[in-house]
Symmetry: C2
Subunit: 260 residues, 2 copies
């Protein structure tokens, strides 16, 4: 049984905590941003928040109001006076850094960073992700304490990123490191993708009726027209249920014609 | 010369527009969210916004205030009464859909969707991405008009996603489809990674001084101690500049000892 995230008030949990990276907000300014950051963390399965020297003190009711239910993360957030205190028990710390810096440091993409954090975590190491204050970002002293910097590949002509957005991207990438969802699948919802036999059964029905009504009367064009319809009906997957509907459509159109 | 995003007021541009996907906000409720969405779009290089039946009408000053400089996207936003009107000139439309639906439809991840949108765009097709209203999301009629649904892999125990956050993830994935940043690199900032010769030169200096001061006097342990130091100095990349600093550190420590 994994530990799960539950709060002081015993509300619904928001998932298994595990050994996920600690999100360290360094000198954050707006309590709302701390709340929306908690929400983004919950979205991506990051449950541990540490706050270094929040400008307006802590706790702040406005943070909880902005968290949209990610209260448990705020309830459990730890406050520190300095970055050194906040990272003392961590083995690796990565710092997000939107702007280029003139320092010698490994520089990772968000994805590269998330993968390395996952690897370190699976070795049993405690890792942290530092985010700077809203306007200025992390300062040079903060960054000298980080093992590596993370810079997101984003539009260089518009890099202004909200704190919660910045955390969202790392939370999302963190979640993806253990996700195996196929990039494309067909939801078939109780029916199934038609077999070639089921499709051919429908094509036979359609072609018989089109022969019957005279649509395919030009003998020279007939093979090409039939082939083109086959191309259309094989372009995307069709379900058995949809074929039954199409059988009905053909039948009803024919009946209406016969009645007329 | 590519077309660039410039606004009515002729301010600074925020990048080349290109044939990027149209973001279609369907019945959005809060003008602030339209503004923060524009900001997220600019971050990821999505420049075309369409708004279907905004609850509070359009334009709304609050949207511009929340856009943090992504005004050009709001200035150029087009408003439509219906989804059909908003998508009439598009070739492919994908709908984001946080919750499972009982429909037969291709289902993509954010990454899978971004890659397909990029492929379609590079074939010259106009594509769109639909996002539903803040609380309810897209309805069944909206989704019946989409070629595919996109659902983000995120913490199923906490799926509550702000509109701008949802757009941010697609904008980020869109940007990544053309990004080639290496996942890890070393910023060396004017210096260079030390060659093995430069490193060995330093190791020689260090070992000579350690021999001199007696630290390596145990002949039996000496080879292992030297090897361990080599392991340490080869674990991460070291720059030529850092080696010069380390030479200085060794020299100064030795001088201090000699003075004493």
């Amino acid at each position: 049984m994994e530990a799960r995230m539950t709060g002081r008030d015993g509300g619904a949990d928001i998932g298994p905590i595990g050994n996920s990276p600690v999100v360290i907000l360094v000198r954050p300014q707006m309590a709302e941003n701390i709340g929306t950051t908690a929400r983004a963390m919950a979205n991506g399965g990051l449950f541990h928040m540490r706050i270094v020297a929040p400008r307006d003190g802590w706790p702040q009711e406005r943070a909880w109001r902005a968290a949209s239910g990610a209260d448990r993360i705020l309830d459990a957030a730890e406050v520190f006076e300095t970055v050194d205190d906040a990272i003392a028990d961590l083995h690796h710390v990565y710092a997000t850094c939107p702007r280029p810096r003139h320092i010698v440091k490994p520089l990772l993409t968000a994805r590269g960073g998330a993968i390395e954090l996952r690897e370190a975590t699976s070795r049993g190491l405690k890792v942290g992700l530092m985010f700077g204050p809203e306007r200025a970002g992390l300062d040079n002293e903060d960054m000298a304490r980080a093992d590596a910097l993370i810079r997101y590949p984003l539009n260089p002509a518009f890099m202004s990123l909200n704190l919660a957005q910045a955390v969202m991207i790392m939370a999302y990438e963190w979640w993806l490191t253990e996700d195996n969802t196929p990039p494309r699948e067909l939801m078939t919802n109780g029916t199934h993708v038609a077999t070639k036999g089921e499709l051919e059964n429908f094509m036979g029905h359609l072609i018989r009726e089109l022969d019957d009504c005279g649509f395919l009367r030009n003998e020279q064009k007939r093979p090409g027209m039939v082939r083109n319809m086959r191309h259309f009906f094989t372009r995307g997957e069709v379900t058995e249920q949809e074929l039954r509907t199409l059988h009905g459509v053909v039948t009803e159109l024919v009946n209406r014609r016969r009645v007329r």
